[in-house]
Symmetry: C2
Subunit: 430 residues, 2 copies
């Protein structure tokens, strides 16, 4: 028997095949019984006509419960009215297992209930769609950099020191030492750029933030490119081409998933480079008009980001943030030392910052001073300072958070549905 996947049915019209999967739904009316079968690649209607199918199978049908595991054989027919466009004139039904009463029903469940059943909730069509978009985004991220001659240089997770500040660090015992879980591959990437010219790292990162917002995960994937000899402006060009590439590829390859998610795709079609660019001072003016509590010089909060991004139908760069609100390694503007050569990219529709980056300080003495000013321990950065001793070079890079990007492209209200098993403040199960 030719066992096939539902997603491949179009290649088997007229053939007798076997499908293996789980009961999505059943319906009976006398001489005809309908089984909606899901196999992870799609859903197929299997039709059992009394007399046309094996009598034991017709009988056994009544035992089926939602999510029971079955093997079905039958003939593939084109049928426009069926989900997926094909159905099976079923002959046989083999029950592999009968499922206990399935906890997730079409009725409305609370978020907490669904999150506690995340291992089962993954089987639903909306979660399917979101995670398939996630897959497409991750693949397009790698293809973008691989196609432009970047070398993948994975950064370590265990690090002996903090990069982005110590208050949100996870710590573990690394034999006789203390290790911190990576918040960013940034510093390691700079060593990679000196070796390979254009590099990226892409892996999980960790922030122990005690905040329950719709934008924060404790554990999230981040891709970080770093380019030797690129300045702030080349960095923004790379970032806008990159974001355009991802969005347009999802639109092209995941149209069905965006339909399931009821995403407004017209808004996504507008995501084309170049993106607007605002100096921090210009953005601050915009914010001050709507948020009187904002003080010029401050970093932006979520509300402030939304004020700025609401003015545009494409993502918007804000550059030249005050050096005081950025990390120690950010290069300052030589013509305006209070400003940094930094840039964040704010997504449309209030999804906030999806990219943060900029040009790195490449002067050994200045970097040395910054490390002291930030109260960091010099010995933790001695290898990093070596990059300035041995052939220091101008370079820039950025980081893009995968889960926020998934939420934005899918139009999801909360990042918790953007990862298969999200880790949030107060949630590490299942």
């Amino acid at each position: 028997m030719n066992r096939v996947y539902i997603s491949d049915l179009s290649q088997h019209v007229g053939q007798t095949v076997e499908l293996r999967g789980w009961v999505y739904n059943t319906r009976s009316s006398g001489k005809i019984k309908f089984l909606l079968l899901r196999d992870g690649t799609g859903v197929c209607q299997c039709v059992y006509f009394k007399g046309d199918c094996n009598p034991e199978s017709f009988e056994a049908f009544e035992k089926l419960t939602q999510e029971s595991c079955v093997y079905v054989t039958g003939t593939v027919k084109e049928e426009k009215r069926s989900p997926g466009g094909y159905e099976l004139s079923a002959k046989n039904l083999t029950i592999h297992s009968i499922a206990a009463e399935y906890p997730i029903s079409p009725k409305e469940h609370g978020t907490d209930f669904l999150m506690n059943h995340r291992h089962l909730w993954l089987r639903s069509s909306r979660q399917h769609a979101a995670l398939r978009v996630r897959h497409e985004i991750i693949k397009s991220i790698r293809d973008f950099f691989d196609g432009r001659g970047f070398t993948l240089v994975d950064a370590p997770i265990f690090t002996p020191s903090a990069c982005e500040g110590t208050s949100t660090l996870f710590q573990t015992n690394y034999f006789d030492e203390k290790a911190y879980l990576s918040q960013s591959g940034q510093l390691y990437n700079e060593a990679g750029a000196a070796a390979f010219g254009k590099v990226y790292c892409f892996g999980p990162t960790f922030r122990a933030e005690k905040s329950k917002t719709r934008r924060h995960l404790i554990e999230f994937w981040m891709v970080e490119p770093e380019v030797a000899f690129a300045d702030l402006y080349e960095n923004m060009e790379l970032a806008e081409q990159f974001v355009e590439y991802i969005v347009q590829r999802v639109l092209k390859n995941r149209a069905e998933e965006l339909r399931v998610l009821e995403r407004n795709t017209a808004a996504l079609e507008k995501i084309q480079a170049p993106f607007p660019r605002l100096h921090y001072n210009e953005a601050a003016e915009l914010i001050l008009k709507e948020n009187p509590e904002f003080k010029k010089g401050d970093d932006f909060g979520g509300t402030d980001e939304t004020i700025v991004s609401s003015k545009f139908d494409r993502p918007v760069f804000v550059h030249h943030y005050p050096a005081a609100v950025k990390a120690f390694y950010m290069k300052r503007d030589p013509s305006d030392e209070v400003s940094s050569l930094s840039c964040d990219l704010l997504a449309t529709e209030g999804y906030g910052e999806i990219i943060g980056g900029g040009q790195r300080e490449d002067d050994l003495e200045k970097l040395f001073s910054r490390i002291h000013e930030h109260g960091l321990r010099e010995q933790d950065f001695s290898w990093y300072l070596d990059l300035r001793k041995y052939g220091t070079f101008p370079h820039s890079g950025f980081g893009l958070g995968v889960e926020r990007t998934v939420a934005w492209i899918c139009g999801l209200p909360h990042v918790r549905e953007t990862a298969p098993f999200p880790r949030l403040y107060g949630r590490m199960y299942p």
Copy 2:
């Protein structure tokens, strides 16, 4: 000025271009000076003829030290005798930075010294070659599964419970709870397979092993596919096609890197599926002939694996290991309950196990007993047991360790050179 990368020089013959990079080597003889420039994508000889180039540049040349950062302009010439096949008739030299005396010289350095300078050591040609092969392997892993309809379902790093035994776990405080760093995405993958049919996860995993061997890293990347409705034998078929695909793609796309690494490629060309398969009992007989200390029923040590793999010029599967030496979730052979439906793949040339996997226990009651027999806490696995309550299904999968695979394909004597910043027992720096 047209700024180009050395790897693209073939497209710019006869043009005046700018190269940016670092001094690899210099040589002077009167009226002619040679600069070997590296830019991360390759090495190019830049030739300064007195009279043909800018006089200040000819003068400045003498200041250059190894790894100084320079911008060079000149005309691209085909030159078979040059590294890379092209050279630059240089006109100008702009020095961006003069490097301090570079600590890594062509003389023999000890391993510890090189590992302490890993951030600089990455610039050398052998490390370049190994990490480019790593990149190709990682890309081919994703392409293999993406091309076969697998869905990427990333497993979490923070887990509330142990999967592969508690002795080698890293632990951290997750707010008010304890979290363990993932040793395997296996259990989560099974939920993914029930949702998507064919899935894989691919990310870093962690084992706190206090052992200094050439095969072990503390932090390593692992790819784990899981397939609904696949049995042990289909699992081995998938694994052998997968390994063949990776090896053949590296041979095809990374020939130059394998040459730098002096890899015996004839041995790699033989890595073609199908691979030989030995029942554990057959493998045990082979081992007993050469290692009298081995006891039938034991797991294999490194020496035992080498005895078995030395009999073959392709990787060899050993299947049906005693259930007692395998994890609780491994299904037992229904016709021989002391054996498990497990399979490991041993690489050629003594590189040891690169794949471990098998068919999973899909019977709720049996799994329940195993959890108790292994002294595990039932509540930690309640979600995992749900997968057997709601539509349990036969399924199999495996895990492949990236760094060991890189060591094997590159022919490296030790896994420490297979990751950009390897984490070993006693080493977390840089």
